[in-house]
Symmetry: C2
Subunit: 126 residues, 2 copies
DNA sequence: CACGTATATACACTTTGCGGTATATAAGGA
DNA sequence: TCCTTATATACCGCAAAGTGTATATACGTG
C-alpha cells in the first residue's frame, strides 16, 4: 500500500476524500454520512493520513480531518501524458514517444524474417 | 475489480499503460521491456482489456495492444473537483461546497451537551 | 504434418486488504 | 471520581488479487 494509486482504489476512501472536499470533517461526521462503522472510518483515515491525503487537528475529543493536495497532484501528474494522448494528435505523439522509448531487444518482429526495425516493413495480414 | 481506480492500482499495469503510450505493442514486447513473465503480461492485459483501457488487434500469432482513452478520462474526471481544490481559492470553494453537501445529522458540534439528539441518543456501549 | 513461436488459460499458493467485534485511550462534564 | 462521548487499535476471518509453473490453442513455416 505504498502508492497513491492503491490508496484511492478503495471506494470508501474516495468517498471520504469527496466529503473532505466540502470541508473538514470529524470522524463521527464521516461515519454518519457514509454509513460506515467508526473503526472502519478510523482505519481508512489512518491510511489516508499516512499516505499524505489528509491531515488531522485535535478539537477536544474529536479529530478534524482535512484534505492535503500533494498525493492527488501526483496522480494528476501521472495522468498528464495520457491526457495529451487523447487530446487529438495521436499519431504525432505516437511517433514522438516511440523515439523516446527505444525498442529493447532484437526481436520486435521475429516471426519469420527480422527486417531491421526502422519502419513498419510488411504488416503480415491474416 | 470493477472500477478504473482498482485497475491502475497495480504498478505493472501502469507500466504497461505507459508503454502503450508510446505506441501499440505485442505481448512479447511488453514482456521483454518490463521483465515480466508472459502469463503475467497476458493476465494484466486481460484485466486492462475488460476494463476498457486497451484493445487488441490480431497480427498473425501476435496480438497488438493499443490504448483506449475512456477509463483514464473517467479518472481524470473524478480528479477534476480536487484540482479546483488545490488551485488557490480554497476557502471560497470550501464554503461553496459546504452548502452543496448539507450536513447530515444535528451534531456537528456536540462537545458538551447533546442538543436534543433525537437521531442518535446514546449508541455504542457494548 | 511436424515443429517452433506467440499468446491465453488453468491451477495452486501466498499475501494482503477490508470488514466486524471488542477493547483501549483520552477528554469533558456532573 | 465516575460516566459519557470520541477516536484509535488489536484481533480474527474471509475473500480477492498477484505470481509462477504447466499446459492448451492458434498460427506460420519447412
Amino acid at each position: 500500500m505504498e502508492s497513491a494509486f492503491e490508496i484511492i482504489a478503495e471506494p470508501n476512501r474516495r468517498a471520504i476524500l469527496g466529503l473532505l472536499l466540502a470541508s473538514h470533517q470529524s470522524v463521527g461526521e464521516i461515519e454518519r454520512r457514509l454509513c460506515m462503522t467508526q473503526p472502519a472510518v478510523s482505519k481508512h483515515l489512518r491510511v489516508l493520513r499516512e499516505a499524505g491525503f489528509v491531515e488531522s487537528t485535535v478539537d477536544a475529543q474529536r479529530r478534524l480531518y482535512r484534505l492535503r493536495p500533494e498525493p492527488l497532484q501526483e496522480i494528476d501528474a501521472w495522468l498528464a501524458p495520457f491526457r495529451r494522448f487523447w487530446s487529438g494528435h495521436i499519431d504525432a505523439l505516437e511517433h514522438h514517444l516511440d523515439r523516446h522509448f527505444p525498442r529493447v531487444s532484437p526481436s520486435p518482429k521475429p516471426p519469420t524474417r527480422p527486417t531491421r526495425t526502422k519502419a513498419a516493413p510488411a504488416r503480415r495480414k491474416k
